[in-house]
């Protein structure tokens, strides 16, 4: 079964798009390196700000007929074909494909509100082409809106990127609780919280270290910790230059941390289980 990783957190600026884009590229690169017959990865950008789209495709002027918006508005019967038609190749890597976001997605939530089956408008067509990809990575907007729900319903693994300053267990538990609500509410038994990715970690800040230690010691959250990405200016510069962190500075500490994190996900893809 193809794993669908969704990066979600209702807080903004925690590194969802950066993590999603670099993870998608990293999975494709590692699978290819490992000799996998299919190393294709699809990145789905559900955030109307379209940052992930911009950095991975070099443009963000996708609209009514070539973006996720088009897929959500398509007839049920044609939605899968529409999805295929809207996918573009990333400028980063031939095996990285992107379903671009569009500013129109903002309005799509209003348009779809009240339409029967609206939350499944991404999961349904995606399920028909999912086998074509080794993995799918979904970037979400910083809220638990309909669009984020659609991403979670389509996903198998929720990954919560979080800054150390938001590491309080209460806050994290609320995010995880929300994901569990969606799993139960929409009856998506395949969806689970697969991991926490700590981003922008500064070991010189005592508070960060303290909160990370607390997380590691937590009986539930500690087991979910998948990686710690250090605060690194290479990440911001890479983003500004529309490059992946691996590409911009492969020797940066953040690059190595992301590579280790991606390695764990690839291992899960290979094992098929947890």
């Amino acid at each position: 079964m193809t794993r669908v990783f969704v990066f979600t957190n209702h807080k903004g600026g925690v590194g969802k798009s950066t993590s999603a884009t670099n993870t998608a590229l990293g999975i494709a690169g590692m699978l290819r390196r490992a000799g996998a017959p299919n190393a294709r990865v699809l990145l789905i950008d559900t955030d109307s700000q379209a940052h992930a789209t911009l950095v991975t495709t070099g443009k963000k002027d996708y609209g009514t007929d070539d973006s996720l918006y088009t897929v959500l508005m398509a007839d049920r019967q044609n939605a899968a074909q529409t999805l295929l038609n809207c996918i573009v190749q990333s400028t980063w890597d031939a095996d990285l494909h992107v379903l671009p976001a569009s500013p129109m997605l903002e309005g799509a939530e209003r348009e779809l509100m009240g339409i029967a089956g609206a939350p499944y408008r991404l999961a349904d067509p995606l399920s028909r082409i999912i086998n074509r990809y080794a993995a799918i990575v979904i970037d979400t907007r910083p809220s638990f809106s309909l669009m984020t729900e659609m991403g979670l319903i389509a996903a198998t693994d929720a990954i919560v990127p979080v800054e150390p300053r938001y590491l309080e267990t209460v806050g994290l538990m609320s995010v995880i609780g929300k994901i569990n609500d969606i799993r139960e509410g929409w009856r998506q038994p395949n969806l689970r919280v697969s991991g926490i990715l700590v981003t922008k970690m500064n070991t010189r800040i005592r508070g960060h270290n303290h909160l990370l230690d607390e997380l590691k010691g937590h009986s539930v959250l500690g087991k979910l910790l998948l990686g710690v990405v250090p605060a690194n200016e290479a990440v911001s510069y890479a983003h500004q230059n529309h490059q992946s962190i691996f590409n911009y500075d492969p020797k940066a500490s953040a690059s190595k941390a992301y590579a280790q994190f991606v390695g764990k996900l690839v291992q899960r893809i290979a094992n098929g289980g947890a």
Partner: protein
């Protein structure tokens, strides 16, 4: 697109992590097994050079040049059959009406007279209903020919099931499909024209013309010709007329086995059918004429092929009758070039007969023809050939 050196830098970083991951089980990702998956119908396309064609030629070319979508191609086919069926006095509105009603008497006799297009649609509807009722038990065999973001699978075997599934989805009311079709996926590098040939020849109903195309594909492949990914004219297959098994002895056995274990001589006879004119090829293919009835036609000049094949179809001539007919035509046609200087004796005889044609009656002539040929159909074919000859002669006289 990242520069090449940058790609290497990424690979070095990710590669070091990958190596750690793969410690102990380096082959865990190298899965080259053949998989069965459910694919979106739109991602699957028939092979344009598949020798066994499902659609009539005109639709085949329109579809493979992307002038028609699968739904449009089927719509055209249905319309084509509706016209043919109306002319035969059995109009229908819904494709399901094509299926025989077991309560209707005499239905079996009627099906005997179905035109090739009616028969094709009838078979497709029948298959569609089987799929609807029992599910798609046999997956299609497809080759993964995806490039970049364009995900596509070329059918190696199972084109009829493909069209039946479209028919079911778009033309049979009340069927709710998820638009997927089960397929055995073969990686592009493991695609094989030999496997396709074996699958084709193992099934009944492969026409002699399809066999000829199949023979051509095998010969062209072993001689290093690249098989195109678009629909091709008959001239593409005719290139095989200049090739033979002797040139590639190491493949002879494989080719003959793939063709259903036939003998070399029969292989050559089948291949020789590609000498037929385009129109004759299409007619013979549509009506699934056997090789033994066609082998004599290829000995004639191409301009006679269509006419003879029409006669074979119209009068259901046997191979023996075709042989006799073609022997006669050969006499008539082989000497056109020297008609002025050295008139053939036969032409002089016919000219003399024309002088006295009003001294006999049509009935006498019919009886004489019957006595000579011993078969009404063959006699009619002879007269038709004669009529054609007379029309041509008149045209020569008119044009001076």
């Amino acid at each position: 697109m990242p520069a090449k050196n940058q790609t290497h830098r990424i690979d070095d970083l990710l590669g070091s992590v990958t190596e750690e991951l793969l410690l102990g089980n380096p082959q865990q990702f190298e899965d080259n097994s053949i998989r069965v998956e459910r694919l979106l119908l739109e991602m699957v396309r028939p092979d344009p050079v598949q020798p066994r064609r499902v659609l009539p030629e005109q639709l085949h070319f329109a579809f493979h040049s992307n002038r028609l979508t699968p739904t449009q191609a089927l719509k055209e086919l249905v319309q084509l059959v509706q016209v043919a069926a109306r002319q035969r006095g059995r109009p229908f509105n819904n494709v399901l009406e094509l299926l025989a009603n077991p309560d209707d008497e005499g239905e079996e006799d009627q099906s005997f007279h179905l035109s090739p297009e009616e028969q094709l649609l009838h078979d497709l509807v029948n298959l569609a209903i089987t799929i609807r009722d029992d599910g798609q038990v046999n997956p299609l065999t497809v080759v993964d020919v995806s490039q970049g973001v364009t995900q596509q699978f070329r059918i190696e075997t199972g084109e009829r099931r493909y069209w039946a599934t479209w028919l079911l989805r778009d033309f049979i009311a009340g069927y709710n499909s998820d638009g997927m079709i089960p397929c055995i996926i073969i990686p592009a590098e493991r695609s094989s024209v030999f496997r396709q040939a074996k699958e084709n020849t193992a099934r009944t109903g492969l026409s002699a013309i399809a066999m000829a195309r199949q023979a051509a594909l095998l010969l062209l492949t072993v001689h290093g010709y690249e098989l195109p990914s678009h629909a091709v004219s008959n001239d593409f297959y005719r290139q095989a007329l200049n090739l033979d098994l002797r040139g590639k002895r190491e493949y002879t056995e494989s080719i003959l086995t793939a063709m259903g274990g036939i003998k070399k001589a029969h292989f050559s006879e089948i291949k020789a059918l590609l000498k037929l004119s385009d129109e004759a090829l299409e007619l013979a293919d549509r009506h699934a004429l056997e090789e033994k009835r066609l082998r004599y036609v290829v000995t004639l000049p191409q301009e006679f092929h269509t006419e003879i094949i029409r006669q074979i179809i119209d009068f259901n001539l046997t191979s023996k009758q075709v042989k006799e007919l073609c022997a006669g035509d050969g006499l008539d046609s082989g000497r056109q070039d020297d008609e002025v200087e050295h008139l053939p004796a036969l032409a002089i005889k016919l000219a003399k007969i024309a002088q006295v044609s009003n001294t006999t009656t049509a009935q006498d002539l019919a009886q004489a023809m019957m006595r000579q040929e011993g078969d009404a159909n063959l006699a009619r074919a002879r007269l038709q050939a004669m009529r054609k000859l007379l029309t041509e002669a008149e045209r020569y006289l008119t044009e001076g």
